[in-house]
Protein backbone atom coordinates (compact mmCIF):
# COMPACT_ATOMS: atom_id res chain seq x y z
CA UNK A 1 0.00 0.00 0.00
CA UNK A 2 1.41 3.40 -1.01
CA UNK A 3 0.58 6.57 0.88
CA UNK A 4 -0.09 10.03 -0.61
CA UNK A 5 -0.38 12.89 1.85
CA UNK A 6 -1.98 16.14 0.71
CA UNK A 7 -1.42 19.10 3.01
CA UNK A 8 -4.34 21.51 2.66
CA UNK A 9 -7.94 20.74 1.73
CA UNK A 10 -8.64 24.00 -0.10
CA UNK A 11 -9.13 24.52 -3.82
CA UNK A 12 -5.97 22.76 -5.03
CA UNK A 13 -5.89 19.99 -2.41
CA UNK A 14 -9.54 19.07 -2.88
CA UNK A 15 -9.33 19.05 -6.67
CA UNK A 16 -6.24 16.91 -6.76
CA UNK A 17 -7.69 14.41 -4.24
CA UNK A 18 -10.77 14.03 -6.43
CA UNK A 19 -8.67 13.55 -9.55
CA UNK A 20 -6.21 11.10 -8.04
CA UNK A 21 -8.90 8.67 -6.83
CA UNK A 22 -10.09 8.35 -10.43
CA UNK A 23 -6.69 7.15 -11.62
CA UNK A 24 -5.19 5.26 -8.69
CA UNK A 25 -6.66 1.91 -7.55
CA UNK A 26 -7.84 2.17 -3.94
CA UNK A 27 -6.42 -1.24 -2.99
CA UNK A 28 -2.90 0.03 -3.76
CA UNK A 29 -3.10 3.69 -2.79
CA UNK A 30 -4.12 5.39 0.39
CA UNK A 31 -4.79 9.16 0.20
CA UNK A 32 -4.82 11.39 3.28
CA UNK A 33 -5.70 15.09 3.38
CA UNK A 34 -4.59 17.22 6.33
CA UNK A 35 -6.21 20.54 7.13
CA UNK A 36 -6.48 22.66 10.24
CA UNK A 37 -10.29 22.83 10.09
CA UNK A 38 -13.31 21.46 8.24
CA UNK A 39 -14.43 24.77 6.69
CA UNK A 40 -13.98 25.22 2.96
CA UNK A 41 -14.24 28.89 2.01
CA UNK A 42 -15.25 30.05 -1.48
CA UNK A 43 -12.50 32.65 -1.74
CA UNK A 44 -13.65 34.53 -4.89
CA UNK A 45 -16.69 35.56 -2.84
CA UNK A 46 -14.52 37.59 -0.44
CA UNK A 47 -14.28 40.36 -3.03
CA UNK A 48 -18.05 40.89 -3.13
CA UNK A 49 -18.77 40.32 0.56
CA UNK A 50 -17.65 43.83 1.68
CA UNK A 51 -20.29 45.33 -0.63
CA UNK A 52 -23.06 43.23 0.89
CA UNK A 53 -23.42 40.92 -2.14
CA UNK A 54 -22.82 37.73 -0.15
CA UNK A 55 -23.21 36.74 3.48
CA UNK A 56 -20.44 34.71 5.15
CA UNK A 57 -22.64 31.59 5.21
CA UNK A 58 -23.04 31.80 1.40
CA UNK A 59 -19.32 31.15 1.07
CA UNK A 60 -18.78 28.29 3.54
CA UNK A 61 -19.13 24.53 3.08
CA UNK A 62 -17.70 21.52 4.90
CA UNK A 63 -14.43 20.26 3.43
CA UNK A 64 -15.38 16.66 4.11
CA UNK A 65 -18.37 16.91 1.74
CA UNK A 66 -16.10 17.68 -1.20
CA UNK A 67 -13.58 14.91 -0.64
CA UNK A 68 -14.10 11.36 -1.95
CA UNK A 69 -15.29 8.85 0.70
CA UNK A 70 -12.13 6.73 0.50
CA UNK A 71 -9.92 9.75 1.24
CA UNK A 72 -8.99 10.17 4.89
CA UNK A 73 -9.26 13.71 6.34
CA UNK A 74 -7.14 14.57 9.39
CA UNK A 75 -8.02 17.83 11.12
CA UNK A 76 -4.77 19.04 12.61
CA UNK A 77 -2.15 21.75 12.27
CA UNK A 78 0.99 20.83 10.38
CA UNK A 79 3.99 21.45 12.60
CA UNK A 80 6.77 20.45 10.23
CA UNK A 81 7.57 18.68 6.99
CA UNK A 82 10.64 16.44 7.12
CA UNK A 83 11.31 15.66 3.46
CA UNK A 84 14.50 13.73 4.17
CA UNK A 85 12.49 11.35 6.40
CA UNK A 86 9.34 11.32 4.20
CA UNK A 87 7.31 12.34 7.19
CA UNK A 88 4.99 15.11 8.37
CA UNK A 89 4.68 16.21 12.01
CA UNK A 90 1.18 17.15 13.13
CA UNK A 91 -0.23 18.79 16.22
CA UNK A 92 -2.06 16.35 18.53
CA UNK A 93 -1.63 13.48 16.07
CA UNK A 94 0.94 10.79 15.26
CA UNK A 95 3.49 11.77 12.62
CA UNK A 96 2.30 10.70 9.14
CA UNK A 97 4.71 8.97 6.77
CA UNK A 98 4.29 9.31 3.03
CA UNK A 99 5.54 7.96 -0.26
CA UNK A 100 4.43 11.12 -2.04
CA UNK A 101 3.68 14.51 -0.54
CA UNK A 102 1.54 17.22 -2.16
CA UNK A 103 1.73 20.62 -0.49
CA UNK A 104 -1.38 22.71 -1.12
CA UNK A 105 -1.43 24.97 1.92
CA UNK A 106 -1.81 28.15 -0.10
CA UNK A 107 -0.78 31.64 0.88
CA UNK A 108 -1.87 33.93 3.71
CA UNK A 109 -1.97 37.69 4.24
CA UNK A 110 0.64 38.78 6.81
CA UNK A 111 -0.03 42.34 8.01
CA UNK A 112 2.47 41.71 10.83
CA UNK A 113 5.29 41.83 8.26
CA UNK A 114 4.89 45.57 7.56
CA UNK A 115 5.70 47.84 10.53
CA UNK A 116 2.62 49.67 11.81
CA UNK A 117 0.12 47.95 9.51
CA UNK A 118 -1.53 45.81 12.18
CA UNK A 119 -1.21 48.39 14.95
CA UNK A 120 -4.28 47.81 17.17
CA UNK A 121 -5.28 51.48 16.96
CA UNK A 122 -5.91 51.20 13.20
CA UNK A 123 -6.18 47.49 12.28
CA UNK A 124 -9.71 46.64 11.14
CA UNK A 125 -10.78 50.06 12.26
CA UNK A 126 -9.30 52.17 9.47
CA UNK A 127 -7.02 49.51 7.93
CA UNK A 128 -8.60 46.40 6.41
CA UNK A 129 -7.64 43.30 4.47
CA UNK A 130 -10.30 41.48 2.46
CA UNK A 131 -8.75 38.09 1.61
CA UNK A 132 -9.88 36.66 4.95
CA UNK A 133 -13.46 36.08 6.05
CA UNK A 134 -12.95 38.17 9.19
CA UNK A 135 -11.32 41.00 7.25
CA UNK A 136 -13.98 41.09 4.53
CA UNK A 137 -16.78 41.03 7.12
CA UNK A 138 -15.20 43.81 9.20
CA UNK A 139 -14.74 45.88 6.03
CA UNK A 140 -18.39 45.36 5.07
CA UNK A 141 -19.46 46.74 8.45
CA UNK A 142 -17.12 49.72 8.12
CA UNK A 143 -18.24 50.58 4.59
CA UNK A 144 -21.90 50.39 5.62
CA UNK A 145 -21.50 53.44 7.86
CA UNK A 146 -18.55 55.22 6.23
CA UNK A 147 -19.27 58.85 5.42
CA UNK A 148 -16.38 59.45 3.02
CA UNK A 149 -12.82 60.73 2.93
CA UNK A 150 -9.62 59.35 1.43
CA UNK A 151 -9.93 55.71 0.37
CA UNK A 152 -6.61 54.06 -0.46
CA UNK A 153 -6.48 50.62 -2.08
CA UNK A 154 -3.00 49.20 -1.62
CA UNK A 155 -0.88 46.22 -2.64
CA UNK A 156 2.15 45.55 -0.42
CA UNK A 157 4.34 43.28 -2.53
CA UNK A 158 3.97 40.75 -5.35
CA UNK A 159 3.10 37.94 -5.59
CA UNK A 160 -0.39 38.05 -4.09
CA UNK A 161 -3.40 35.80 -4.24
CA UNK A 162 -5.58 36.84 -7.18
CA UNK A 163 -3.51 39.77 -8.50
CA UNK A 164 -6.52 41.45 -10.15
CA UNK A 165 -8.62 41.47 -6.95
CA UNK A 166 -7.33 44.80 -5.57
CA UNK A 167 -8.14 46.48 -8.91
CA UNK A 168 -11.58 44.91 -8.85
CA UNK A 169 -11.99 46.17 -5.31
CA UNK A 170 -11.21 49.73 -6.47
CA UNK A 171 -13.72 49.48 -9.36
CA UNK A 172 -16.42 48.01 -7.13
CA UNK A 173 -15.80 50.60 -4.39
CA UNK A 174 -16.21 53.38 -6.96
CA UNK A 175 -19.59 51.95 -8.10
CA UNK A 176 -20.71 51.22 -4.52
CA UNK A 177 -19.92 54.74 -3.32
CA UNK A 178 -21.63 56.28 -6.33
CA UNK A 179 -24.75 54.22 -5.64
CA UNK A 180 -24.81 55.52 -2.10
CA UNK A 181 -24.40 59.13 -3.24
CA UNK A 182 -20.97 59.38 -1.60
CA UNK A 183 -18.62 59.30 -4.54
CA UNK A 184 -17.99 63.08 -4.63
CA UNK A 185 -17.01 63.00 -0.97
CA UNK A 186 -14.40 60.31 -1.55
CA UNK A 187 -11.01 60.35 -3.25
CA UNK A 188 -9.75 56.93 -4.31
CA UNK A 189 -6.05 56.20 -4.78
CA UNK A 190 -4.63 52.89 -6.03
CA UNK A 191 -1.15 52.31 -4.61
CA UNK A 192 0.92 49.51 -6.14
CA UNK A 193 4.53 48.29 -6.20
CA UNK A 194 4.07 47.62 -9.93
CA UNK A 195 4.92 50.09 -12.69
CA UNK A 196 1.28 50.47 -13.67
CA UNK A 197 -2.21 49.16 -12.96
CA UNK A 198 -1.12 45.64 -13.88
CA UNK A 199 2.00 43.82 -14.93
CA UNK A 200 1.58 43.07 -18.61
CA UNK A 201 1.40 45.92 -21.18
CA UNK A 202 -1.93 45.28 -22.93
CA UNK A 203 -3.89 44.59 -19.73
CA UNK A 204 -2.08 47.34 -17.84
CA UNK A 205 -3.11 49.89 -20.48
CA UNK A 206 -6.76 48.78 -20.52
CA UNK A 207 -7.05 48.56 -16.73
CA UNK A 208 -5.13 51.82 -16.28
CA UNK A 209 -7.59 53.70 -18.46
CA UNK A 210 -10.45 52.13 -16.49
CA UNK A 211 -8.93 53.66 -13.35
CA UNK A 212 -8.75 57.04 -15.12
CA UNK A 213 -12.38 56.85 -16.29
CA UNK A 214 -13.39 56.38 -12.68
CA UNK A 215 -11.17 59.19 -11.37
CA UNK A 216 -9.09 56.73 -9.38
CA UNK A 217 -5.56 58.08 -8.90
CA UNK A 218 -2.66 55.69 -9.53
CA UNK A 219 0.48 55.68 -7.35
CA UNK A 220 2.87 53.21 -9.04
CA UNK A 221 6.33 51.89 -8.03
CA UNK A 222 5.36 52.26 -4.36
CA UNK A 223 7.29 49.82 -2.17
CA UNK A 224 6.01 50.28 1.35
CA UNK A 225 8.35 50.68 4.29
CA UNK A 226 5.78 51.24 7.03
CA UNK A 227 2.38 52.54 8.02
CA UNK A 228 2.29 55.45 10.45
CA UNK A 229 -0.70 54.64 12.69
CA UNK A 230 -0.85 58.13 14.21
CA UNK A 231 -0.98 60.18 11.02
CA UNK A 232 -2.61 57.32 9.04
CA UNK A 233 -0.04 57.48 6.27
CA UNK A 234 1.66 54.93 4.01
CA UNK A 235 5.38 55.61 3.75
CA UNK A 236 7.46 54.14 0.93
CA UNK A 237 11.10 53.04 0.85
CA UNK A 238 11.90 56.21 -1.11
CA UNK A 239 10.00 58.36 1.39
CA UNK A 240 6.84 59.10 -0.52
CA UNK A 241 3.75 59.48 1.66
CA UNK A 242 0.14 58.58 0.96
CA UNK A 243 -2.36 59.62 3.66
CA UNK A 244 -5.63 57.73 4.12
CA UNK A 245 -8.86 57.73 6.10
CA UNK A 246 -9.74 54.21 5.02
CA UNK A 247 -7.02 51.84 3.85
CA UNK A 248 -7.90 48.60 2.10
CA UNK A 249 -4.60 46.78 1.80
CA UNK A 250 -3.37 43.49 0.50
CA UNK A 251 -0.71 42.67 3.10
CA UNK A 252 2.43 40.74 2.24
CA UNK A 253 1.41 37.23 1.16
CA UNK A 254 3.42 34.28 2.47
CA UNK A 255 3.31 30.51 2.27
CA UNK A 256 2.72 28.43 5.41
CA UNK A 257 5.02 28.97 8.40
CA UNK A 258 5.78 25.24 8.77
CA UNK A 259 7.67 25.38 5.45
CA UNK A 260 10.30 27.72 6.89
CA UNK A 261 13.49 25.70 7.36
CA UNK A 262 12.12 22.61 5.58
CA UNK A 263 14.62 22.94 2.73
CA UNK A 264 11.76 23.14 0.25
CA UNK A 265 10.97 26.85 0.42
CA UNK A 266 11.98 30.26 -0.92
CA UNK A 267 12.25 33.44 1.15
CA UNK A 268 8.45 33.84 1.24
CA UNK A 269 7.88 30.20 2.28
CA UNK A 270 6.66 29.14 -1.15
CA UNK A 271 7.73 25.68 -2.28
CA UNK A 272 10.34 25.90 -5.01
CA UNK A 273 9.16 23.73 -7.88
CA UNK A 274 9.71 23.06 -11.55
CA UNK A 275 7.16 25.32 -13.26
CA UNK A 276 6.12 22.63 -15.75
CA UNK A 277 5.68 19.63 -13.41
CA UNK A 278 5.20 21.28 -9.98
CA UNK A 279 7.80 18.86 -8.61
CA UNK A 280 9.97 20.15 -5.75
CA UNK A 281 13.41 21.26 -6.85
CA UNK A 282 15.00 19.49 -3.88
CA UNK A 283 12.93 16.31 -3.30
CA UNK A 284 11.52 14.19 -6.15
CA UNK A 285 8.56 12.83 -4.19
CA UNK A 286 7.31 16.25 -3.09
CA UNK A 287 5.01 18.44 -5.19
CA UNK A 288 3.26 21.76 -4.58
CA UNK A 289 -0.03 22.81 -6.15
CA UNK A 290 -2.04 26.01 -6.05
CA UNK A 291 -0.88 29.16 -4.28
CA UNK A 292 1.71 27.26 -2.19
CA UNK A 293 4.22 26.93 -5.04
CA UNK A 294 6.64 29.50 -6.44
CA UNK A 295 5.60 29.12 -10.10
CA UNK A 296 5.62 32.49 -11.87
CA UNK A 297 1.88 32.42 -12.58
CA UNK A 298 -1.11 34.08 -10.94
CA UNK A 299 -2.01 32.73 -7.52
CA UNK A 300 -5.53 31.90 -8.66
CA UNK A 301 -8.02 29.05 -8.57
CA UNK A 302 -7.84 28.64 -12.34
CA UNK A 303 -4.09 28.06 -12.18
CA UNK A 304 -4.60 25.54 -9.37
CA UNK A 305 -7.20 23.77 -11.49
CA UNK A 306 -5.24 23.62 -14.76
CA UNK A 307 -1.99 22.67 -13.06
CA UNK A 308 -3.73 19.96 -10.99
CA UNK A 309 -4.99 18.45 -14.25
CA UNK A 310 -1.48 18.33 -15.74
CA UNK A 311 -0.03 17.10 -12.44
CA UNK A 312 -2.47 14.18 -12.16
CA UNK A 313 -1.82 12.94 -15.69
CA UNK A 314 1.93 13.20 -15.11
CA UNK A 315 1.68 11.49 -11.73
CA UNK A 316 0.05 8.39 -13.20
CA UNK A 317 3.09 8.04 -15.47
CA UNK A 318 5.54 8.79 -12.69
CA UNK A 319 4.27 6.03 -10.39
CA UNK A 320 4.67 3.55 -13.26
CA UNK A 321 8.31 4.53 -13.41
CA UNK A 322 7.95 6.60 -16.60
CA UNK A 323 9.10 10.17 -17.12
CA UNK A 324 6.51 12.94 -16.71
CA UNK A 325 5.72 13.99 -20.29
CA UNK A 326 3.46 17.01 -19.81
CA UNK A 327 4.49 20.55 -18.90
CA UNK A 328 2.12 23.11 -17.42
CA UNK A 329 2.15 26.42 -19.33
CA UNK A 330 0.99 28.74 -16.52
CA UNK A 331 -2.54 28.98 -17.93
CA UNK A 332 -4.73 31.39 -15.93
CA UNK A 333 -8.31 32.44 -16.60
CA UNK A 334 -9.69 35.22 -14.42
CA UNK A 335 -12.85 37.28 -14.33
CA UNK A 336 -12.41 40.93 -13.37
CA UNK A 337 -15.46 42.63 -11.86
CA UNK A 338 -15.63 46.26 -12.96
CA UNK A 339 -18.83 47.38 -11.20
CA UNK A 340 -22.37 48.22 -12.37
CA UNK A 341 -23.08 44.67 -13.46
CA UNK A 342 -20.15 44.37 -15.82
CA UNK A 343 -16.90 42.51 -15.90
CA UNK A 344 -13.85 41.57 -17.96
CA UNK A 345 -12.18 38.24 -18.59
CA UNK A 346 -8.48 37.56 -19.04
CA UNK A 347 -6.89 34.34 -20.30
CA UNK A 348 -3.11 34.02 -20.39
CA UNK A 349 -0.05 31.91 -19.52
CA UNK A 350 3.68 32.13 -18.75
CA UNK A 351 4.49 33.33 -22.26
CA UNK A 352 1.35 35.04 -23.56
CA UNK A 353 0.08 38.15 -21.83
CA UNK A 354 -3.68 38.82 -21.46
CA UNK A 355 -5.00 39.86 -24.89
CA UNK A 356 -8.27 41.10 -26.35
CA UNK A 357 -10.57 38.73 -28.28
CA UNK A 358 -13.37 36.21 -27.78
CA UNK A 359 -13.55 33.26 -25.36
CA UNK A 360 -13.73 30.29 -25.45
CA UNK A 361 -14.73 30.13 -29.14
CA UNK A 362 -13.13 32.43 -31.75
CA UNK A 363 -15.64 34.90 -33.25
CA UNK A 364 -18.48 33.56 -31.09
CA UNK A 365 -17.50 34.05 -27.49
CA UNK A 366 -19.89 34.29 -25.69
CA UNK A 367 -17.33 35.94 -23.44
CA UNK A 368 -15.10 38.85 -24.47
CA UNK A 369 -11.48 39.10 -23.40
CA UNK A 370 -10.16 42.23 -21.70
CA UNK A 371 -13.40 44.11 -22.40
CA UNK A 372 -16.20 45.19 -20.05
CA UNK A 373 -19.39 43.27 -20.74
CA UNK A 374 -22.49 42.09 -18.93
CA UNK A 375 -21.83 38.49 -20.05
CA UNK A 376 -18.49 38.45 -18.25
CA UNK A 377 -20.15 39.59 -15.02
CA UNK A 378 -22.74 36.83 -15.35
CA UNK A 379 -19.90 34.39 -15.95
CA UNK A 380 -18.31 35.44 -12.68
CA UNK A 381 -21.58 34.93 -10.79
CA UNK A 382 -22.16 31.52 -12.42
CA UNK A 383 -18.67 30.54 -11.42
CA UNK A 384 -19.67 29.96 -7.78
CA UNK A 385 -21.93 27.10 -8.89
CA UNK A 386 -19.25 25.73 -11.22
CA UNK A 387 -16.74 25.86 -8.36
CA UNK A 388 -18.73 23.79 -5.88
CA UNK A 389 -20.28 21.37 -8.37
CA UNK A 390 -17.67 20.79 -11.07
CA UNK A 391 -14.28 22.24 -10.28
CA UNK A 392 -13.68 20.95 -6.75
CA UNK A 393 -15.08 17.54 -7.61
CA UNK A 394 -12.68 17.18 -10.52
CA UNK A 395 -15.44 17.05 -13.13
CA UNK A 396 -14.70 18.34 -16.63
CA UNK A 397 -15.23 22.00 -17.54
CA UNK A 398 -15.13 23.24 -21.15
CA UNK A 399 -11.75 24.97 -20.85
CA UNK A 400 -8.55 23.06 -21.70
CA UNK A 401 -5.73 22.93 -19.18
CA UNK A 402 -3.25 24.46 -21.61
CA UNK A 403 -3.99 27.92 -23.01
CA UNK A 404 -5.26 28.25 -26.58
CA UNK A 405 -4.56 31.20 -28.92
CA UNK A 406 -7.93 30.66 -30.62
CA UNK A 407 -10.02 33.83 -30.49
CA UNK A 408 -7.20 36.01 -29.21
CA UNK A 409 -6.03 39.13 -31.04
CA UNK A 410 -2.24 39.38 -31.28
CA UNK A 411 -0.68 42.38 -29.53
CA UNK A 412 -0.84 44.76 -32.51
CA UNK A 413 -4.65 45.02 -32.36
CA UNK A 414 -5.89 46.21 -29.04
Amino acid sequence: MKQIVILGGGTAGTMVANRLVKFLPSDQWRITVVDQNNEHLYQPGLLLLPFGKYKPKDLMRERRDFLPKQVELILSNVLAVEPALNRVQLSGHEPVAYDYLIIATGTSPRPDQTPGMDDPSIWRNSVFDFYTLDGATALRDRLATWSGGRLVVHVTEMPIKCPVAPLEFAFLADAFLEERGLRDQVSITYVTPLEGAFTKPVASKQLGSMLEERSIALEPDFVIERVDPETKTLISMDEREVPFDLLVTVPLNMGADFLAGSGLEDELNYVKVDKGTMQSRSFDNVFALGDASDIPASKAGSVAHFSAEIFTENFVDLVQGKPMPRAFDGHANCFIESGKGKGLLIDFNYETEPLTGKFPWAGIGPLSLLKETRANHLGKLAFRWIYWHLLLRGRPIPIPALMSMSGKNPTTTN
Binding site: E157, M158, P159, P163, L194, E195, F198, T199, K200, D221, V223, E225, M237, D238, D266, E267, L268, P296, A297, S298, A332, F348, E353, P354
Partner: protein
Protein backbone atom coordinates in the same frame (compact mmCIF):
# COMPACT_ATOMS: atom_id res chain seq x y z
CA UNK B 1 16.28 39.68 -30.67
CA UNK B 2 18.29 42.73 -31.72
CA UNK B 3 22.08 42.73 -31.51
CA UNK B 4 23.77 45.95 -30.44
CA UNK B 5 27.30 47.04 -29.64
CA UNK B 6 28.15 47.96 -26.05
CA UNK B 7 31.68 48.70 -24.87
CA UNK B 8 33.02 47.35 -28.15
CA UNK B 9 31.20 44.02 -27.89
CA UNK B 10 28.21 42.63 -29.79
CA UNK B 11 25.45 41.65 -27.39
CA UNK B 12 21.87 40.39 -27.69
CA UNK B 13 19.18 42.52 -26.04
CA UNK B 14 15.39 42.43 -25.82
CA UNK B 15 13.03 45.24 -26.88
CA UNK B 16 13.61 47.04 -23.56
CA UNK B 17 17.39 46.81 -23.83
CA UNK B 18 17.90 44.03 -21.24
CA UNK B 19 20.73 41.63 -22.15
CA UNK B 20 19.36 38.21 -23.05
CA UNK B 21 22.56 36.13 -22.93
CA UNK B 22 24.07 35.65 -19.46
CA UNK B 23 27.60 35.09 -20.79
CA UNK B 24 27.72 38.18 -22.99
CA UNK B 25 27.87 40.44 -19.91
CA UNK B 26 31.10 41.94 -18.62
CA UNK B 27 32.01 44.56 -16.05
CA UNK B 28 32.75 47.02 -18.84
CA UNK B 29 29.29 46.49 -20.26
CA UNK B 30 27.79 47.01 -16.79
CA UNK B 31 29.54 50.36 -16.55
CA UNK B 32 27.99 51.51 -19.83
CA UNK B 33 24.53 50.21 -18.88
CA UNK B 34 24.75 52.00 -15.51
CA UNK B 35 25.72 55.24 -17.24
CA UNK B 36 22.70 55.00 -19.51
CA UNK B 37 20.35 55.05 -16.50
CA UNK B 38 22.35 57.62 -14.51
CA UNK B 39 23.75 55.29 -11.87
CA UNK B 40 27.32 55.94 -10.67
CA UNK B 41 28.72 52.58 -9.70
CA UNK B 42 30.36 52.34 -6.27
CA UNK B 43 31.61 49.29 -4.36
CA UNK B 44 28.18 48.97 -2.80
CA UNK B 45 26.57 48.82 -6.23
CA UNK B 46 29.02 46.13 -7.27
CA UNK B 47 28.14 44.09 -4.20
CA UNK B 48 24.51 44.01 -5.35
CA UNK B 49 25.40 43.31 -8.97
CA UNK B 50 27.75 40.47 -8.06
CA UNK B 51 25.12 38.97 -5.78
CA UNK B 52 22.56 39.12 -8.59
CA UNK B 53 24.95 37.50 -11.07
CA UNK B 54 25.86 34.64 -8.69
CA UNK B 55 22.28 34.11 -7.55
CA UNK B 56 21.04 33.91 -11.12
CA UNK B 57 23.52 31.14 -11.85
CA UNK B 58 22.00 28.88 -9.19
CA UNK B 59 18.35 30.02 -9.30
CA UNK B 60 17.83 30.67 -13.01
CA UNK B 61 15.89 33.87 -12.38
CA UNK B 62 16.58 37.43 -11.33
CA UNK B 63 16.48 37.98 -7.58
CA UNK B 64 13.67 40.15 -6.20
CA UNK B 65 14.43 43.10 -3.92
CA UNK B 66 13.26 40.89 -1.03
CA UNK B 67 15.75 38.19 -1.96
CA UNK B 68 18.58 40.72 -2.29
CA UNK B 69 17.68 41.76 1.26
CA UNK B 70 17.22 38.36 2.93
CA UNK B 71 19.84 36.36 1.05
CA UNK B 72 22.18 39.09 -0.21
CA UNK B 73 22.07 41.13 3.01
CA UNK B 74 21.37 44.52 1.40
CA UNK B 75 18.19 46.12 2.87
CA UNK B 76 15.47 47.14 0.41
CA UNK B 77 15.71 50.70 1.69
CA UNK B 78 19.39 50.77 0.72
CA UNK B 79 18.58 49.29 -2.69
CA UNK B 80 16.32 52.29 -3.28
CA UNK B 81 19.20 54.61 -2.38
CA UNK B 82 21.58 52.82 -4.74
CA UNK B 83 19.14 52.36 -7.62
CA UNK B 84 16.52 55.10 -7.17
CA UNK B 85 12.81 54.60 -7.92
CA UNK B 86 12.95 51.18 -9.60
CA UNK B 87 15.68 49.14 -7.92
CA UNK B 88 14.56 45.68 -9.05
CA UNK B 89 14.50 46.70 -12.69
CA UNK B 90 17.67 48.80 -12.60
CA UNK B 91 19.75 46.20 -10.74
CA UNK B 92 18.80 43.49 -13.21
CA UNK B 93 19.44 45.80 -16.16
CA UNK B 94 22.99 46.61 -15.08
CA UNK B 95 23.69 42.99 -14.10
CA UNK B 96 22.72 41.85 -17.60
CA UNK B 97 19.83 39.72 -16.34
CA UNK B 98 16.17 39.52 -17.37
CA UNK B 99 13.76 42.03 -15.89
CA UNK B 100 12.41 40.39 -12.73
CA UNK B 101 9.06 38.76 -13.33
CA UNK B 102 6.10 40.96 -12.50
CA UNK B 103 4.39 37.88 -11.08
CA UNK B 104 0.93 38.16 -12.62
Amino acid sequence: MPVIEIAGKQVHVNEEGFLTEYDEWSEDIAKVLAQQIDVDLTDEHWKVINFLRDDYKTEGESATTRRVQTVGGIPVKQQFVLFPKKPAKKMAYIAGLPKPKGCV
